[in-house]
Amino acid sequence: MSFLGYVFMQRALIAGALIGAGAGTVGVYVVLRGFSFIGAGIAHAAFGGVAIAFLVGMDPLLGALVFSLLVAWGIAYTSRRAAIKEEVAVGVLFATSMALGIFLLSFIRGPRVDLLGYLFGNILAVSSRDLVLSFVLAGVVFLAVLFLYKEFLFIVFDPGMAEVAGFPVGLLQGALLSLVALTVVLSLRVVGAVLVAALLVIPAATAYQLVRDFHKMVFLSACIGVLEVIGGLIISFYLDTPSGPTIVLLSASLFGLVLLFRKGTR
């Protein structure tokens, strides 16, 4: 039976397409603004949220959503007020939420929580409920990017000028980081908290090597994202490897190839 014959695989592939397109699109802003590290911070915070949700008996993805959104706005606020360096705030947060997650999960008795699955992704993990949530999350991300396309471009390219033009730069930055949070939660089941940051960076970085037009870069990055997540899932199915690392390795290989062929031109 081919991989398409399995229901779990069908769900994983549909979720995978949404993940690839979402991460590819949001990743463009992440790469161009240079906040890859913030993406990683939010991803780790999501894992802390999963653990808290398990303890209080909430849906783990909803826990991840709440927690990562809080962290996203926390970072946006810190970067505006500059009480401490944004980088330092993320650095502290990064390890703390990961530690909190594993610490809390060690208290949970009874059915073992799929710790590895949340950390590195599990191809079997996408339930039909998760799939519904994926559609909602991806829908919000795409609608937001569609509506605030020029605003996000403006604050990423030239935040000072966006402020002069009268745009609410702080709120827009928070909104953009919220999209990062939504994408992280969207990807959590299939890619895992540890590796989702790579998905926010690699497709966009690959597209950046190939085109010099922002609009084309967004489109290309989304396409590359879909291709890599779907491709990674299929390889993961046949090799019986964890889906997250397989997807990331495939993405990194493609990025390496593109770099090799584009060498010296950029």
């Binding site: 161009l32 605030l148 402020e163 009268g166």
Partner: protein
Amino acid sequence: MSSVVELRGVWVDFGGHPVLEDITFSAAAGEFVSVVGPNGAGKTTLLKVILGLIRPRRGEVQVFGVPPWKLGKQRARIGYVPQVEEVDPRFPLRVLDVVLMGRYGALGLGRRPGAADRHAAVEALKLVGIAHLAGKPLGELSGGQRQRVFVARALAVKPELLLLDEPTTGIDPAASESFYELLRRIQKTGVTVIMVTHDVGVISRYVDKVACLNRRLVVHGRPEEVMADAALAEMYGCAALFFHHGRAPHMVVRPHSELREGRR
């Protein structure tokens, strides 16, 4: 002539330290004013006060007759060219897309630029003489060309007031010269131009007024009047010499030591 920009007794503090002290300054409609001063003199702060981004602790600011933070939609009457270092030149954007950003503020949240905006952007590019570069990626331009792109972006809303922050940084002297010519041409279309620069050697033949800033605004007048004023020397801890070449007064500033040697 009515004043486009008017500051009276303006004080600005950052964390308890005065950045601007008792600034009184005005620019009349259609004037080309250059504000010179060393790094850290408060030049960018002065522009941000005019833009309404910073509110003074004391004093009065009026732009087009109202406090700039109350301009609202009228913000579009101001064009602003920020310092070049603030953007990444390798950002994957084409020249026309950058110029179109000048129209974003007037468009408002969620609305995309249309044909009229594209037309205005092309017109602005023509005005600064680089319409042929519209489709080029920003990263392929020279420093001088890139600076023109940012001027075109500021002009895309057809402003009545143009503010420039250190526009000739990183541009070679010949390109700077033709850049000043461009500003002069823009001024002749009726636009009030205020340019701040740390380049005290700026050739003042293009400007109507020179103001010297180092927390306080020391000199304020026509280039010839500035020359008569000894205050400039106090301000920089250096002496300023001016030379006349017919109708083109040049302002040259040298350190004390160098000047003393010259006097022997």
